[in-house]
């Protein structure tokens, strides 16, 4: 007799396990795609830097050290805008032994240049010099330059922080100085969404596996009756699940890799990954990702098989005929704390002061909800079946369906849980987006008092310089304000860049009603900052008059006093700072993306727009903070 007859039997009749196979495959697809997206690399051609052995650039990340007593912690976040490096450093670096030449390079990546500032300094070495040794010397030179520089945004003046030194392939990254932020945005999406999707997939896999094994309970009972030991039953399940997980994983490899590429392409097209990004994961890493479902599938199968193997064969055969009516005690006992935790989190979220605090609770709430639903599935199914008993009067089909669910809540739960988890996850994401969009529209409509808005034509563009002054000088103008979305760094308490706006003009209250809670927002002067009520209470923890440090897109600290706290934070952003402060620090041309006008006739403004190309005149509405001329708001 040939060996492997059990597995041969499985292949002959795969029907009962096809669900497990598909679940393993889906898990593998998602895991492989997640790995591919998470490890996506953008092309970093060396271009002009090919001949430079060492490249020195300014800081590409903001580092802030907070010292509380003896404890000091440093937080770091990629800068939305790169401000370059003083070109005067080139002469200092040229003097470093081993350096043949130090050339300031500008115009990376978009050709914009700033006087006195280089994008980077390319160093060539004298013949025979060791790049490693020279790099150490360059580092020392930069450290001493730091000591003499009060201007540089350096967390520790005794280090070379504030500079980026690249050798080898890393030099290519500096050819596109915006890469870190774009990568960070893509990674943020990966860090928040992908674990949730994977947890859902793994729960669904566990439920499907448990269902498949329990449906085969009679088979295992029969094996026990004809002489299989518990260990043999467990090993049979182990072998089956391992085989199915391996087969499903392999089947998921190519679709997963394809999905990963599609995901990278989609993220790149939305600006969340650098253009031209491609998956760079090793095929072996992706192959390892295929095995993600294996431990879960095997563990879930073994748990179900252990239950089947522990009961006496006679009992198992009785149960497999009738199904297990009893609700699972241990599972319910574990699920109840999860359910209680979910309720506590929902209450906490409802009581949380503002959207920022609620948003912080979103991920744990979603995870706890997934766990609670997965564990309490049979109880919920039994409860729903009990609540639906009145439907029995609708006919025999409903009566039979309800009887079937009530008799076997575990099996019904195994089928329901994956659907419930997927629906919950997608619903949470979809509804949170539409809720925010709805609230933004509502707040935007309430906030804009201006009768007319002049807007830069192409997305990301800016209105001509001096337009605000021209509009203010027009007859009949009662108020005019210019607004530009801008990313601003804050410690709330995590160091991060959030969406805000740079605002300029006078009599702001005539064009904007931000729902000021305290202070005044008729004019914003240098040294002042307006903070949304949510950010003030749940994020920064500031009040009117509090000092606060805001970091401009290029990392420059802006120390200001809170002059206003406003309620309507969604349309424009959580922070408003004077436009004059941000000028030259955003990495983008100076100017407003929108000018809000009140009192001036629409005709006069239309004539103004006609005389200057690239201006769109709209009667009302604001472009939401984020995808304007600036870097998009950091995804939280």
């Amino acid at each position: 007799m040939r060996r492997g007859w059990m597995l041969a039997g499985l292949l002959r009749n795969p029907g009962p396990v096809i669900g497990t196979l598909v679940a393993c495959m889906v898990t593998a697809v998602l895991t492989v795609a997640a790995i591919a997206v998470g490890t996506a690399r953008s092309p970093s051609p060396l271009g002009r830097l090919a001949s430079a052995a060492i490249v020195v650039a300014g800081s590409t990340s903001l580092e802030v050290t907070t010292s509380q007593g003896a404890d000091a912690s440093t937080q770091s976040v990629p800068l939305p805008a790169y401000r370059g490096i003083p070109d005067s450093l080139a002469s200092q670096l040229a003097a470093v032994p081993g350096v043949a030449s130090a050339t300031p390079e500008s115009g990376f990546p978009d050709g914009t240049t700033r006087p006195g500032t280089a994008d980077l300094i390319a160093l060539t070495l004298v013949k025979g010099a060791s790049p490693v040794t020279v790099e150490q010397r360059v580092r020392s030179a930069l450290r001493s330059a730091n000591l003499n520089s009060a201007d540089l945004n350096s967390a520790n003046p005794n280090s070379a922080a504030g500079y980026t030194i690249a050798t080898g392939a890393a030099r290519g990254d500096l050819a596109n100085i915006n890469l870190p932020v774009e990568r960070s945005s893509g990674q943020q999406i990966g860090f928040t969404l992908i674990p949730l999707i994977l947890v859902t997939a793994l729960f669904a896999l566990a439920a499907t596996t448990a269902l498949a094994v329990s449906l085969r309970g009679r088979r295992y009972a029969l094996l026990r009756a004809v002489g299989a030991t518990r260990g043999q039953v467990r090993r049979a399940v182990l072998a089956e699940q391992a085989l199915l997980a391996a087969a499903g994983g392999l089947l998921g490899y190519l679709p997963g890799a394809f999905l990963g590429r599609a995901g990278i392409s989609a993220l790149a097209s939305h600006g969340l990954l650098p253009p031209g990004s491609a998956d760079s994961a090793s095929p072996w890493l992706l192959l390892a990702g295929c095995a993600a479902g294996l431990p879960v599938s095997v563990a879930a199968g073994l748990a179900a098989a252990r239950r089947a193997a522990r009961t006496t064969p006679a009992q198992a055969m009785r149960e497999s005929r009738a199904g297990r009516r009893k609700l699972p005690v241990i599972r319910t006992a574990l699920g109840l704390p999860a359910g209680a935790g979910l309720v506590a989190l929902i209450v906490a979220a409802a009581r949380a002061n503002g959207a920022a605090a609620q948003e912080q609770l979103l991920a744990p709430l979603l995870l706890v909800a997934l766990v609670a639903v997965a564990l309490l599935g049979p109880v919920l199914v039994a409860a729903v079946a009990a609540a639906a008993r009145p439907l029995r009067v609708t006919g025999p089909a409903a009566r039979l369906a309800l009887a079937g669910i009530s008799a076997q809540p575990r099996r019904a739960a195994s089928a329901v849980i994956p659907v419930a988890l997927a629906t919950g996850l997608i619903g949470a994401i979809a509804f949170s987006e539409t809720s925010v969009a709805h609230a933004t529209t509502a707040q935007s409509a309430a906030a804009v008092r201006a009768g007319t808005v002049l807007q830069a034509g192409p997305p990301g563009g800016v209105l001509p310089a001096g337009l605000l002054a021209v509009v203010q000088a027009l007859p009949g103008t009662r108020g005019a304000a210019g607004i530009t979305p801008v990313s601003l760094g804050v410690e709330d308490p995590t160091l991060e860049y959030i969406g805000g706006a740079a605002i300029g003009g006078a009599n702001l209250a005539r064009v904007l009603d931000m729902g000021v809670v305290s202070g005044q927002l008729n004019m914003l002067r240098p040294g002042q900052v307006a903070v949304s009520a949510i950010e003030a209470s749940a994020g920064l923890g500031v009040r009117l008059g509090s000092p606060v440090t805001v970091y401009l897109p290029d990392g420059t600290p802006y120390r200001a006093t809170v002059s206003a706290i406003y309620a309507r934070g969604l349309p424009i952003g959580s922070l408003l700072i004077p436009a004059s402060v941000t000028a030259g620090h955003t990495g983008a041309p100076t100017g407003y993306s929108q000018v809000l006008v009140s009192g001036t006739s629409h005709k006069a403004l239309a004539a103004l727009a006609a005389a200057r190309p690239g201006i769109t005149v709209i009667t009302a509405g604001l472009r939401p903070a984020g995808p304007g001329g600036q870097r998009p708001e950091q995804v939280e």
Partner: protein, 284 residues
């Protein structure tokens, strides 16, 4: 005790039969199956049901016994307790010289695997395994080498053709499937064969042929058949009647007509008892 006349010669035990099994067989003292004061209850407190109530029986080596009774009389529970598939609430079972309840699960399984064969009403064949694989299953689980010839021989003894060995159980008729189950039970040369309603799903003609086959091929094994079909007793040395979990009567060399009359009487008593219980409940 009646000696079974075998129509077919019984080959010796297959090579590889464990020394432990031989030792256990040697330790048999008299009857391979005996139950003493056996009771079995299901449920607790108010929902408690007594399936077996102080049953004592002895099944002699090589005997062919039918256990009969109305539905719910405890027939299947008696078989399962005697076979070590179910743990009795009280009393003692002796199966091939050992008390299954006192053994660990593994040793109880090994005892069943090496000394006991099963034939169930619904054939209990694994649908994804071929007929040959189903027949060889108990020996494969015991890590014993099974040759095609041995499987073919066992199949031939129950009238299955070599071509049928390669087919899957769902492709066979009910009678053919039960032959496969009998071949599976016989291949390991068990000391005891437990059959739970082996003809329950078969037409009378096929049932007669299957029982005849079982009788012919049992090879000296002690056979205990649970049934409600009086015709089964035609092939039995003894008929044991259960009523409400107790032994009501034991008839040696039973005649189907007498068995049918007694079963009918037991059925009447059971119906009357049910009506009394229901009336008492409705009054309460």
């Amino acid at each position: 005790m009646t000696t079974t006349n075998l129509a077919l010669p019984c080959p010796g035990r297959p090579a590889g039969h464990s020394q432990a099994a031989e030792a256990t067989t040697a330790a048999l003292s008299g009857a391979p199956v005996r139950v003493d004061n056996l009771s079995k209850h299901f449920g607790r407190r108010r929902s408690r049901v007594t399936a077996l109530d102080d049953v004592s029986l002895e099944f002699a080596a090589g005997s062919f016994t039918a256990i009969l009774g109305a539905s719910g009389s405890g027939k299947t529970t008696l078989l399962q307790c005697a076979a070590g598939l179910e743990r009795p609430s009280s009393g003692r079972v002796s199966l091939c010289g050992a008390d299954p309840a006192s053994l660990s699960d593994r040793k109880r399984t090994l005892l069943r695997r090496r000394h006991v064969g099963f034939v169930f009403q619904d054939f209990s064949l694994l649908p994804e395994l071929t007929v040959a694989e189903n027949i060889a299953l108990p020996l494969r689980l015991d890590h014993r080498h099974v040759t095609r010839a041995a499987v073919g021989d066992a199949a031939a003894r129950v009238g299955l053709s070599p071509a049928q060995l390669r087919r899957l159980p769902p492709e066979l008729s009910g009678g053919q499937q039960q032959r496969v189950a009998i071949a599976r039970a016989l291949l390991a040369r068990p000391d005891v064969i437990f059959a739970d309603e082996p003809t329950g799903a078969l037409d009378p003609h096929t049932a007669q042929r299957v029982l005849s086959l079982l009788r012919e091929t049992a090879c000296g094994a002690t056979v205990i058949i649970v049934t409600h079909d009086p015709q089964v007793t035609r092939f039995c040395d003894r008929a044991v009647f259960l009523y409400a979990g107790r032994v009501d009567a034991v008839i040696e060399r039973p005649e189907p007509e007498d068995v049918a009359a007694r079963l009918h009487a037991l059925g009447e008593r059971a119906t009357a008892l049910d009506e009394m219980v229901n009336a008492a409940r409705s009054m309460a």
